[in-house]
């Protein structure tokens, strides 16, 4: 089908064409960016943590006397182990989705060879095994690795990605990394395949984490990791939560930081989920409104061009030709809209980057936006185009 006559016909409707092009362009810009943000949130919400989440739960206590932390830990750990269904109980301080201390770490004491934002997890010698963290090199901590709190160099397990950043070309085992302006050294005894930072956001430091076994005491108290059969973990947590009133009457339960790992993940991403939901709603409304606009304007064109359509039909054009005419016309208009929309999408992207630390919009999203809008255009134009194709040739003979 020749395109030239279609373009010439469009020239008679410059204003309406411009309106549809503008609407498509704006829709394309918003759609691409919204899709990009939603995809980012989605992959963030489904990030792998490197720990055996379905089997784990955490109880956090607050407002206890830290000078008597040992007594509290002993009481609570012993009490929790007695709960039916509990497989193991360990002390922890910090976990993914729970929060932890963050510091920058360096391969040298002075921090001149680069520094990397890192999450610090602490626990007892058995914590890593309970978490289900897999090692690629070295070994898990043993009781003999637990050193006094005031030791300058402690034994630690770090993640593969942190090891690769600190020592890109060397075996990390046995090396010491430094934090906190040279005041603390951490000797690597094991390398974990995967363990994400405590509060994953969309940034580069996602795999930087370090685990150090510590003694029960003022610095490691009040947070307990439970492991149970995945099917029973909620029930076990409920019992553990209830047991706190008798096990630790001198403390209060910090409910915000108590839950199964599933709960904690859910809580951590609640605002991301709300944003994603809101954006998906916007996209759906946007597509509906755009389709409505196309239907309205094309419907008007069909009505306006009834006579011309009749003439074309009278001199030999088939219904299919008329249908094609409107479909190709719509394809061209949407194409123009998309071309303009791509420019707008990048402008929006630059504006959004001011508020969000987002990477640049990858071209794939433009392609997705284009395909969606083309399909939407074809769908929206089908009704009016079918009505146009149904115009009988006899219209041409009326009131010429």
């Amino acid at each position: 089908m020749p395109i030239r006559p279609i373009l010439r016909a469009l020239r008679h409707h410059r204003f309406t064409t411009a309106l549809i092009v503008l609407e498509i362009a704006l829709a394309c810009a918003v759609l691409c960016n919204a899709c990009f943000i939603v995809a980012g949130k989605w992959s963030l919400m489904h990030i792998r943590s490197g720990i055996d989440e379905p089997a784990l739960a955490v109880v956090t206590l607050d407002n206890f006397d830290r000078q008597r932390a040992d007594d509290l830990n002993a009481r609570v750990v012993d009490g929790l182990r007695r709960i039916d269904g509990v497989q193991s109980v360990d002390l922890i301080s910090g976990l993914p989705f729970l929060g932890a201390g963050g510091e920058s770490t360096s391969p040298d004491r002075e921090g001149k060879l680069g520094s990397y934002s890192t999450s610090f997890y602490f626990g007892d010698a058995g914590t890593l095994a309970t978490l289900g963290v897999e090692l690629t090199a070295g070994r898990l901590p043993r009781d003999s690795d637990v050193v006094p709190d005031d030791a300058t160099i402690v034994q630690s397990v770090i993640t593969r990605s942190l090891a690769d950043r600190l020592w890109p070309h060397a075996d990390p085992l046995g090396k010491v990394l430094w934090c906190c302006h040279g005041s603390g050294g951490f000797r690597v005894i094991g390398v974990a395949r995967e363990l994400i930072q405590d509060m994953p956001r969309d940034d580069a430091s996602v795999g930087n984490a370090i685990f150090t076994p510590q003694r029960s005491g003022p610095m490691l108290a009040g947070q307990y990791l439970l492991r149970a059969d995945p099917a029973r973990v909620s029930e076990v947590l409920r019992k553990a939560r209830a047991a706190m009133a008798t096990l630790a009457p001198d403390a209060t339960v910090d409910d915000e930081h108590t839950g199964t790992l599933g709960d904690l993940r859910h809580r951590h991403f609640r605002s991301d989920r709300a944003t994603a939901d809101m954006l998906m709603g916007t996209m759906a409304a946007l597509l509906a409104i755009t389709a409505l606009g196309i239907v309205g304007l094309t419907g008007y064109w069909v009505q306006q061009r009834r006579k011309q359509i009749g003439i074309r039909r009278a001199i030999g054009a088939t219904r299919r030709d008329i249908l094609r005419h409107f479909q190709i016309e719509n394809f061209l208009i949407v194409g123009m809209g998309i071309a303009l929309g791509v420019l707008l999408a990048y402008a929006f992207d630059v504006a959004l980057m001011k508020f969000y630390e987002l990477p640049h919009l990858p071209p794939a999203y433009l392609l997705v936006g284009a395909v969606v809008l083309w399909l939407l255009g074809q769908l929206a134009v089908l009704g009016p185009a079918l009505r146009a194709a149904a115009v009988p040739p006899v219209v041409a003979t009326r009131s010429v």
């Binding site: 704006l26 407002n63 419907g299 929006f348 969000y356």
Partner: protein, 442 residues
């Protein structure tokens, strides 16, 4: 004439109900999304102390030292600097604030202790920030010197513990100490909780926690420190510049954890105070206690601005909704155009019978405004629905999401303005319909 145009517009709407309904709905959805997000952004960027905010200032110093020297004034101060400035009494009023978790219990009630947030502060806090009291009042400034075991509690905590009765004079167990309640606040919900926020600028828009409810317990600073005596870190310490800090004594640790607020009622006093602050910093630097003599004195609203308090998600949603409204508007332009031009014949007749272009233009705009008004009603309902949805979300500011009067009128103003704007071009087009041609085709 206007009445006649209105009548024409109503007739026209009735003639093509489906299309008119779709237009109104499209406009309403756009206005609803836009106004919901704008209302939330408007509420979150409001003035938390409307009466006094222009006279409230937040002085900042830079007490940090190597190894962790920072290069700008810190959000909070160390104990000594804060006490020096506070006890100098160089402003009309001054107060110190620091938040901390605490467990609270009514002795003999048999209930387990509740975890709550406590604010350590001074008596000026209440008059400075217009904090309303339901029963009793603030403690006396002499209570601070004598480390008196007194406290003020929030109305929510009073409801929870005492069923809303006048609890002044009752005793409350905080941690392991008993304090006497001297005042109960009336409901008070500053948004954001401006007095103990920090580093919002570096949180990449993650500032939702600034909109948490205010603390439930208020106690004199000296009393609060007594209650926590000998305990390792109790404050969510803002920043320590030496890791050697053992957290045993909040008074001597090299950590910034106290915020100072001052009330300065005239520009001259602000200038004087800024000079005093600078002088203090320079003196401390000379004595070798500071590395830097940087200072900053920001008003309350500047402080909120600096902290970029409105959460990034709220801002992004507002931008997205405006882009969406723009699309709805372009859509309305197109649909209005087809509406008007479909009636070219009718317009031709009116023109032939003597109606001026101006009259046709006005008639079209009246119809657009009517659609705008209907869209406004729909938009208002959808805004109420949108705000209800915000209230169902588990966010700190959920309870704040209500439509206030300016935003209510704003909804209709915006809807009518939007539809008039969208109607101008189509109306111009319609008023230019050539008479003869249209009459011929009738």
């Amino acid at each position: 004439m206007f009445g006649y145009y209105l009548d024409l517009a109503l007739r026209s709407l009735r003639r093509s109900k489906a299309l008119a309904a779709m237009m109104v709905m499209a406009l309403a959805v756009g206005i609803g999304a836009s106004m919901t997000t704008l209302t939330v952004a408007h509420l979150l960027s409001g003035d938390p102390v409307p009466e006094h905010s222009a006279t409230l200032y937040h002085p900042q110093l830079n007490p940090t030292m190597p190894p962790r020297l920072v290069h700008e004034p810190t959000s909070a101060m160390d104990y000594r600097s804060a006490m020096d400035l506070w006890s100098a009494h160089r402003a009309d009023r001054q107060t110190l604030v620091a938040g901390s978790p605490v467990k609270v219990q009514v002795e003999g009630s048999g209930e387990p202790p509740l975890p709550r947030q406590m604010l350590l502060t001074t008596s000026d806090f209440f008059p400075m920030f217009d904090v309303p009291f339901r029963y009793g009042g603030p403690w006396a400034s002499t209570d601070e010197e004598s480390h008196a075991r007194v406290a003020v509690i929030s109305s929510a905590l009073n409801d929870r513990l005492f069923g809303g009765a006048d609890s002044v004079g009752r005793s409350l167990r905080l941690r392991d100490s008993d304090v006497r309640i001297v005042g109960v606040l009336a409901p008070w919900r500053p948004a954001p909780r401006f007095y103990d926020i920090w580093n919002g600028r570096y949180r990449h828009g993650d500032t939702e926690s600034f909109y948490n409810d205010p603390e439930d317990i208020y106690a004199p600073l000296a009393t609060g420190l007594d209650i926590f005596a000998g305990q390792t870190p109790v404050m969510p310490v803002h920043f320590c510049w030496d890791m050697g800090a053992d957290g045993k004594s909040m008074q001597t640790d090299p950590c910034a954890w106290l915020s100072l607020w001052v009330q300065l009622s005239s520009p001259a006093k602000v200038r004087n105070y800024a000079g005093f602050l600078k002088g203090y910093a320079q003196q401390q630097k000379r004595q070798g206690r500071y590395t830097s003599d940087q200072t900053r004195l920001q008003s309350l609203m500047q402080w909120l601005e600096w902290n970029r308090v409105v959460p990034g998600t709220v801002r992004m949603q507002a931008w997205m909704a405006q882009a969406f409204l723009l699309i709805c508007l372009v859509n309305t332009v197109g649909l209005l155009l087809t509406r008007f031009l479909r009636r070219s014949g009718e317009i031709g007749v009116r023109r032939a019978m003597g109606a001026s272009r101006c009259a046709v233009f006005t008639q079209c705009l009246v119809e657009a405004a009517l659609i705008g008004l209907l869209g406004g009603v729909g938009g208002w309902l959808l805004t109420l629905l949108g705000l209800w949805m915000v209230r169902q979300q588990p966010v700190a500011y959920a309870d704040l999401a209500h439509l206030d009067l300016p935003m209510f009128f704003g909804t209709f103003a915006m809807s009518v303005a939007a539809s008039l704007l969208a109607g101008v071009l189509p109306a111009l087009r319609a008023s230019r319909v050539p008479i003869g041609f249209q009459l011929k085709t009738l």
